[in-house]
Point group: C2
Chain length 110, copies 2
Amino acid sequence: MVHSLVPSDRVEAASVYGRDGQKIGRIERLMLEKATGAVAYAVVKYGSLLGGLHRYPVPWNSLKYNLARDAYESDLTLEGLRNGPSELDGEAFDWGDRSPVYRHPQYWTV
Amino acid sequence: MVHSLVPSDRVEAASVYGRDGQKIGRIERLMLEKATGAVAYAVVKYGSLLGGLHRYPVPWNSLKYNLARDAYESDLTLEGLRNGPSELDGEAFDWGDRSPVYRHPQYWTV
């Protein structure tokens, strides 16, 4: 049976791969529009506490679930995300405000 | 600073109160439209393993966050939800398919 809905706690544990096949990371949480309940973007975690932990905003509409791979595939790449906004080791990045993301339109055109 | 976005893992731990002031329960997870990334409804847990654990679908647009209370308030009531679809102690209820919810239009008219 094909479901049109997916539980948030299942999404939150999923891996994400870029269009070049390279792993972007794992979804840590979703950022939701309070007013509408729409997912603005997923926060994708890459790296480790030792080597530096990056968090990237990945828009929902760039993510496609691949059942066979049990992972999401994105039109973006890790390389591309590195040129946009990210959070390193918990440094100041205001995830609650979408404006930092809006300033980087490459996230919203895929 | 007022944020327009909220992290999913913060929503998932929140309490929900009905319009009559009675507690409906706690949000356990959100059900998302795969295609659009819109939250269809929150799964709200009420009760305990001993006394019977119910899960109710509560649509996002019925939920308003009350900062002072640090909880969501709904236009619905626990009483009203009891007359709709719910899951008791993990019995068969297909949370992944929205049709059971659509068959109960009271969830979508608030």
